[in-house]
Structure formats: structure tokens, C-alpha cells
């Protein structure tokens, strides 16, 4: 008898009833495939860290899933139109001052009000040479932060070389000056001293570090983070009482984890697109209680053509023939079930600069006949072996991309067969991401074609990718991203002009002129605009993918698991 009781006790412990899962507002478990770093928003670089920070931190304003700029911690976004931003003269220079006011009810998790001092500390840390902040442009463009001595909730940002994007403060974070101020004061002078001693590393569950609807209750790097509602959050009360973000490194086991109840949903940093499509089909067929969410994003998949160095690709007819000979609609329908759309240039539909007006840009329809005519005109004649030759040389290009990326490998095979039909040979060479992005694309070392993606914010200046000064060279430490080596002085001038244009209509017009040259000269073959994808429980409401760099968790307080 005692043996039987012991056996029952062992079975109960090993096979608890909790494994028979149900999803409601008591707890939500999210799977994520990227590991996260410490949650200090100023020094974080990983996408997963920004995803987790969305639960616990809020920025002055944000871009919502419809692409509109909306205030979050701020009362209102300052613009020239509403009078909260103004030009002024100082030291003979035209500067811009943007007045911000933080919501009266904005508090840190320990009850201390969020003030302009917290914004200023974040900016000061970002400007420090001893802190390992990646890209510093967003801090550099602010000359100073002026805090209202009467009301610390009010502060102004002064820009000495103002750009049209001044009102976008969603890449700036508040840092609790009452907690992090003393740390920065003590360790800010030594190299990476602040990085190592910030309370986000030494005491990440301190409620005072977070000003969002949730706070971190437990954090184990490489395993999970637990979020619970922030008692001092005065905005919309979060409905889900506990959220667990669980790191699951292998995408192949995400579905098994979901079906076994180990997780309840898969974040957008999870399934590959082909995996999501396959799961969607199975979920619908088997009636599984999950919804696969798709949202067109700002990620632009394309092929850079080596127009700067490759003699064959310097011929515009060849470049145009390359675009005409591929059926990108068929590619999107076949490989992505139509859920990722054909790209026509580098501004995705979510970007206000997007246009498909044939009077403003050059559109390329799928036409093998046109492609053949262009290649004939370029002197490339079809031979009996099915390939084109000129002066005894075969028309052949090497197409490179990241190794072990199944989606890109499928696209390569699709394109290879399409280009073969017009007599172009494509050889494939793929490299590990680290080599490909660290050497090949960064130093423009690919011989002909490089397939990869760019992500950008709406209305983002294409200076680094299209301006001639962005061509990576040894002289600029290979820091530019115009790896095609495309030079168009008119485009350079247009980019410089649009960065200083504060009128939206005029700025858009300048951007469309850039797009005209971009589509007419084809330094890049646009392939498709990617979609964000995630899996949520069917009973989940209030969940909207952003499609942008803004994490979907920025609206986590509205998520609701209906019974």
C-alpha cells in the first residue's frame, strides 16, 4: 500500500494537471526564438530586448500600427503645425525647439513621477563615449535638453541642425534618474563602467526601472522573463495578470511547444514565414485554437546589383531585362501564398512615400519578350545551349545570399529558373550570415548580385543606401550601405534637399523624384515586401502587429484573452 501511494505521489508530481492547458487572462506564455540581453533600453541592440521592453517601458510618442505618430508618455507630439515646435535664431544659426510635456499620471513602478530629468539622463547616457551605445545619430541630433525649472514634467529639445523627423521621439527612452543617476555618476567615467553596473543588470526586478503597464517580476537570461502589472501605471489597466516570455531557440520545436501547452503564443520573433504558412494550414485543417497573424511590414527584400564594378551590369538594358524576366507576382503567390507582396521600389506601402503611380516611377511588368529584346539590343545573343553570349563570353551572374535561409534559397531557385528562360545563367553562392553581412555586403565584395533585406522607418532618408557618399570604401571604414556602388548626382542633391524639407507634400515630391531615378536606373532589383507573422490564441483580442520597428508589445495592456 505505501508503495502504491508513493507511486501515485510520484505520478502527480511528474504529470501535473497544469499540463492540460487553457488560456485566459490569468497567464499568457509567449515563445520567442531570440535570446534577450539586459533590459537597459539605451544600450540594448537585440530585437528581442526591444520586444520585452515594450511591456515595461514607454517612449514619449510612438508610431501606431496604422503608421500614425501618436503621443504615449507625452501629452501631445510637438509639431510646427500645432505650435509646440518652433524655429529660432541662435549664434547666427537657424535652430528648432520642440516642447514636450509628460503626462501628469506618468510614474515609474516605484511611484516616482516620470520627468524631463529622466529623458535628459537617457540622452546624456546615449551621448557618453564610455557607454557602448550603437548608433548615436538620434542622440547627436539633439543639441541640448532644457527642463522647465517650474515644472520638470515639461522639457524642450533643441536641434542645431534640424531635420523633418524631429518629432519622432519613439527611439528615445526615459531612464529613471532617481535610480540610474547615481550609477551613471559613479561609473560613467570608466569604459563600459555604466554598462556593467546599471541597475538593469544588477537589479533588473527593481520596479522603479519601469514605467510601462507591466514590470519585470523575474528575469533569467537564456530562459524567461515574467511580467506582472505595474501598480503605478495609470493608463489602461492591463487585463492579463501574468505574462511569461519564454526563450525557445529552435524554430522547429515552437509548434510542438505550442501544441503541448508549454507556450500559448509565438511572438513575431519566432516562426519563419514558410513555417507560419504551413502551421496556418494545419491549424485551419485541424481546427486548432490559434490565429496566425500577418501584417505587411517595412522590410524590403531585394537584390543589390554590382553596378559600380561589374562590367555587364553597367549596361542599363541588361539590368532592365533582369527585372522584366522575373514574375514577382508568381513568386509571391507560389512561395508566400500571396501574403507577402511584390516590391516595386524601396518604400513599402506603409511608408507615406510609397507610390505606384506610373507617371512618377518606372514600373516593370513581367515580359520575357521585352527582356529578350533588351538583351538582344545589348548584344547578348542566344546560343544553342540555351544561354546568351557576347564576344564568346556567357551571360552569367553569381547570386549570393545568406546560407541556411530556406526562404531565400527557395527564391534563388525560382529566380534561377526564370532567368534561365531568357538565356541568363545564375550560379548560386551562399555564405553564413556572419561572413555575408560582416564582409561580403559590407565591403561590397560580391561579384554581381546580393540578396538581402533592409528595414527602415517610414519617411526615412535613404542617404546611407542611395547617396554616393554611402558607397562603402576603405576610406570610410566601409560604413556606407550603398553596396551597389550606384552614383547619381541628381539623387544625391534630392536626398540632401528632402532632409531639410519640413513641408510634407514637398518632401514626398522630392522622395518620389528619388524613386523615379531608383526605378529607372535599376541599381537594385526589388523582390517583395516582407510581412510580420505571429501566432496568437484564437480568443485573444486587442493584439495588432505593428509592421514597423515599433514592438507589438507597446500596446500589451490592451491584449485580452476572452473566455
Amino acid at each position: 500500500m505505501p508503495k502504491k501511494i508513493a507511486l501515485i505521489a510520484l505520478c502527480s508530481a511528474l504529470f501535473p494537471s497544469s499540463l492540460l492547458f487553457s488560456v485566459d487572462n490569468r497567464e499568457l506564455k509567449i515563445g520567442i526564438t531570440q535570446e534577450f540581453e539586459n533590459p537597459n533600453p539605451i544600450i540594448a541592440t537585440m530585437l528581442a530586448t526591444h520586444y520585452l521592453y515594450g511591456f515595461v517601458g514607454r517612449t514619449p510618442n510612438v508610431m501606431d500600427p496604422d503608421g500614425n505618430d501618436v503621443a504615449m508618455m507625452a501629452v501631445e507630439t510637438p509639431t510646427l503645425e500645432n505650435g509646440l515646435a518652433e524655429f529660432f535664431e541662435e549664434d547666427g544659426k537657424r535652430k528648432l525647439r520642440a516642447h514636450w510635456e509628460i503626462r501628469e499620471d506618468a510614474h515609474w513602478g516605484d511611484g516616482v513621477p516620470v520627468t524631463g530629468h529622466d529623458f535628459k539622463l537617457g540622452w546624456t547616457i546615449g551621448m557618453s563615449d564610455t557607454v557602448s551605445v550603437g548608433e548615436r545619430e538620434k542622440f547627436d541630433e539633439i543639441e541640448r535638453v532644457e527642463i522647465d525649472p517650474e515644472n520638470p514634467k515639461k522639457f524642450a529639445l533643441v536641434y542645431d541642425e534640424p531635420k523633418y523627423s524631429y518629432f519622432r521621439a519613439f527611439q528615445h527612452y526615459f531612464v529613471p534618474s532617481h535610480i540610474e543617476g547615481p550609477v551613471f555618476e559613479e561609473f560613467g567615467d570608466e569604459n563600459e563602467g555604466y554598462d556593467k553596473n546599471t541597475k538593469y543588470v544588477t537589479d533588473p526586478t527593481n520596479p522603479g526601472l519601469y514605467n510601462g503597464p507591466y514590470r519585470i517580476a523575474e528575469m533569467k537570461l537564456g530562459s524567461h522573463v515574467i511580467f506582472v502589472p505595474n501598480e503605478h501605471w495609470k493608463g489602461h489597466k492591463p487585463t492579463i495578470q501574468k505574462i511569461i516570455l519564454k526563450y525557445i531557440p529552435n524554430t522547429a520545436t515552437l509548434e510542438a511547444n505550442l501544441k503541448s501547452g508549454t507556450i500559448d503564443m509565438i511572438s513575431l520573433i519566432g516562426l519563419r514565414f514558410d513555417q507560419a504558412l504551413a502551421f496556418d494550414e494545419r491549424a485551419q485543417k485541424d481546427g486548432l485554437p490559434y490565429t496566425v497573424n500577418y501584417k505587411p511590414s517595412l522590410v524590403y527584400e531585394h537584390i543589390d546589383l554590382q553596378v559600380g564594378k561589374n562590367e555587364i551590369l553597367k549596361d542599363l538594358n541588361v539590368r532592365k531585362a533582369l527585372v522584366h524576366s522575373i514574375d514577382r507576382d508568381l513568386l509571391c503567390d507560389t512561395l508566400f501564398d500571396g501574403k507577402q507582396k511584390k516590391a516595386i521600389h524601396n518604400a513599402p506601402p506603409m511608408d507615406p512615400w510609397f507610390t505606384d503611380d506610373p507617371e512618377k516611377i518606372v514600373l516593370y511588368r513581367y515580359s520575357k519578350r521585352t527582356a529578350r529584346r533588351l538583351l538582344d539590343a545589348a548584344g547578348w545573343e542566344m546560343n544553342d545551349d540555351g544561354y546568351r553570349y557576347k564576344d564568346g563570353k556567357r551571360l552569367s551572374f553569381q547570386l549570393m545570399t545568406t546560407a541556411q535561409d530556406k526562404t531565400r534559397e527557395n527564391v534563388q531557385i525560382f529566380l534561377q529558373s526564370q532567368w534561365k528562360e531568357v538565356g541568363i545563367e545564375i550560379t548560386i553562392k551562399n555564405e553564413p550570415a556572419r561572413v555575408y553581412f560582416g564582409e561580403t555586403t559590407r565591403k561590397a565584395k560580391y561579384p554581381a548580385m546580393a540578396m538581402y533585406a533592409w528595414i527602415k522607418l517610414p519617411e526615412h532618408s535613404p542617404r546611407s543606401t542611395l547617396h554616393s557618399e554611402g558607397i562603402p570604401t576603405e576610406a570610410n571604414s566601409y560604413s556606407g550601405q550603398n553596396s551597389s556602388g550606384w552614383v547619381n548626382k541628381e539623387v544625391d542633391a534630392l536626398i540632401e534637399a528632402l532632409e531639410l524639407e519640413f513641408d510634407f507634400e514637398k518632401r514626398r515630391d522630392l522622395a518620389h523624384q528619388v524613386l523615379y531615378h531608383y526605378t529607372n536606373e535599376v541599381p537594385v532589383i526589388p523582390l517583395y515586401y516582407r510581412s510580420d507573422v505571429s501566432v496568437t490564441p484564437s480568443n485573444m483580442e486587442g493584439y495588432r502587429l505593428s509592421g514597423s520597428l515599433i514592438p507589438v508589445t507597446s500596446w500589451a495592456e490592451f491584449w485580452d484573452l476572452k473566455n
Binding site: L14, G134, R136, R434
Partner: protein, 322 residues
């Protein structure tokens, strides 16, 4: 024996020092350091940003100078800071190392406790139905890739029967203590241990069987039988003890690779071990984490080989060290 051990420890330290420099130098030769990756992934990253970070990380200094800085900190017990995870390396590796140790030791103990007795059994019944059946299963165990077996285990035991969790190290936010905590950890260990054990057991069966068959044909076994010793004593004291020498070598090598050998299993089962961290740190040029991983791996290989040498002398009195 004492001087032999001292000599080997000294050799171990010298080899560790030389190999640590080789590893450091090889890491610097890999294309695409973290700053390169930032440049290529962020259109806003400027020349000034790249130069500032290189200065901050010391990447503008020579390899020798950087290695000397790393070494001087490491000998003081300061293994630095992970630039990928932005936490001290010791905080990052410590708990994961323990988890990997538990997983690997559990798998190894289970494999040995199954593999050696079965290996002996089938060696003594060579050519029997049992021998053929075990051989078949052993080859199956060796042939099935661990990731495939892992996925099968997850599908059967987690998705369909919901008996064990699909992944993790322990129940999150359970606040368990004592026996309940141990049981909870065991629950998460079952599938990864099974996945690792299948292949290891098959190897140990094959090695033990082969070695035991050879040993049982040796002259000293015939002498032992001629002396009238009981069969069990002949097998255990004379046969198995000698047959274990090659197995000890294999076990020592297995132990030395336990640090990085469970990468696939840990990844599949989301087990919070050190295997994937090591892999990611090398791929991501996270120097400090990668270097600590190298040092531990090198140390384990050398120490385990030393342990194996000492065990040889215990198992076979004819072996002595001068």
C-alpha cells in the same frame, strides 16, 4: 605517481596558456566582428560610431595587447563582460554550466549503467539471438540523429501524450523547494537525457562488447579458469577490469566534450545549458564568453585525460608511471 601528477598539471597549465592564445588569435581572424555586423545591419550607423566603439572595446589595439589585457584580468578571476548579452560572463556562464553538467552527467551515468552491463552480457553470449538483437538496437541508436530522436520524443511525450514538458529547465514561477524541486527538475530532464542516452548507450555497448570479447580470449582468463575460480569472479575481476581500459578512454573523451556536446539537445529542448551559448558566442565574436568556453573545454580535455591515465594504473597494475 605524485611527481607524475605534478608534471602533468604543469603541462596542463602550459598547454592551456598556449592554446588560449591560439584561440584568441583565431577569433580575431574571423570575419565580421560585432561592430561590422552593426554597420551592415543599421543604415544609421556612421563612421564615427564605428570608430568610437572600436576605441571603447579596445578593438583598435594590437592582438597581443588585447590578449595581454584579457589574460591579466582572467588570472585575477575577472572574465570580463559579454558584449552580446551585456552582463558579466561569470553570471552568464555559471548557472548554465551547472545545468549542462547535470544533463550530461545524468545522460552519461545512465548510458554507462545500461551500456556496460549489456555490453558484457552480449559479449558472453556472442552469436546468440540476444547478441543480434542488441547489435541491431545499438546500430539504430548510433544511426538515428539526435535532433530527429529529440523531435520524436517531444511529439510523443509532450504533444500527444502530454506526459513531459516539451522544453525548459524547470517550471517557471513555481517556487518549489526540496524534494518537489528535485522532482520538477527531473521532469524536465527526462526527454533530453533520453535523447542523449540513446546514442551514448549504443556506443558503450559496442565498445564494451568488443573489448570484452577480446579480453575473454586472453591467456590470463584461461589461467584464472584453470585455477578453479568461479565464473562470476573470472568475468568481473579478470575480464571486465581489463576490458574497461579502452572504455575508460572513451568515457574520458566523452566527459571532456560534455561542455559543448549537448548543443543540439539543449537547443531542441530549450534547456538552459551552456552549449548553445558557446556556439553563439563563437559565431557572434563575443570574445569574453568564447574565451571562457575555450578555457573550460581545454581544461576539461586535459584533466579528463589525466584522470584516465591515473585510472589505467588502477585497472591494470602492469601500468606504472615514473
Amino acid at each position: 605517481m605524485g611527481s607524475f601528477i605534478l608534471r602533468r598539471i604543469f603541462q596542463t597549465l602550459v598547454v592551456t596558456f598556449i592554446l588560449s592564445f591560439c584561440c584568441y588569435y583565431l577569433l580575431t581572424l574571423m570575419p565580421g566582428d560585432p561592430i561590422d555586423i552593426l554597420i551592415s545591419s543599421n543604415p544609421n550607423f556612421t563612421i564615427e560610431d564605428a570608430e568610437r566603439l572600436k576605441r571603447l572595446y579596445g578593438a583598435d589595439k594590437s592582438v597581443m595587447e588585447r590578449y595581454a589585457n584579457w589574460l591579466s584580468s582572467a588570472v585575477k578571476g575577472n572574465f570580463g563582460y559579454s558584449r552580446v548579452y551585456r552582463v558579466p560572463v561569470a553570471d552568464l556562464i555559471g548557472p548554465r554550466l551547472m545545468n549542462t553538467f547535470i544533463l550530461s552527467m545524468a545522460a552519461l551515468s545512465l548510458s554507462l549503467s545500461i551500456g556496460i552491463p549489456i555490453g558484457v552480457l552480449v559479449a558472453l553470449r556472442k552469436g546468440s539471438k540476444v547478441d543480434y538483437s542488441v547489435n541491431f538496437l545499438s546500430f539504430a541508436g548510433i544511426s538515428i540523429p539526435s535532433f530527429f530522436l529529440g523531435i520524436l520524443l517531444i511529439l510523443c511525450f509532450s504533444v500527444y501524450w502530454k506526459v513531459f514538458p516539451a522544453g525548459g529547465t524547470e517550471t517557471i514561477d513555481a517556487n518549489l523547494h526540496g524534494f518537489a524541486y528535485v522532482l520538477d527538475r527531473l521532469k524536465y530532464l527526462v526527454l533530453p537525457v533520453l535523447s542523449l542516452t540513446a546514442m551514448q548507450t549504443a556506443y558503450y555497448i559496442r565498445y564494451t562488447r568488443s573489448s570484452m570479447i577480446d579480453t575473454m580470449h586472453m591467456d590470463f582468463i584461461k589461467t584464472a579458469r584453470a585455477k578453479g575460480l568461479r565464473n562470476s569472479i573470472v568475468i568481473a575481476r579478470h575480464g571486465l577490469r581489463n576490458a574497461l581500459i579502452p572504455v575508460v578512454t572513451i568515457v574520458a573523451l566523452s566527459l571532456s566534450t560534455l561542455f559543448s556536446g549537448a548543443v543540439i539537445t539543449e537547443t531542441l529542448f530549450s534547456y538552459q545549458g551552456v552549449g548553445k551559448l558557446v556556439f553563439d558566442s563563437i559565431s557572434g565574436n563575443d570574445f569574453n564568453v568564447a574565451m571562457v568556453s575555450f578555457i573550460i573545454t581545454i581544461g576539461m580535455v586535459l584533466v579528463m585525460n589525466l584522470a584516465a591515465d591515473i585510472l589505467y594504473a588502477y585497472l591494470d597494475p602492469r601500468i606504472e608511471y615514473k
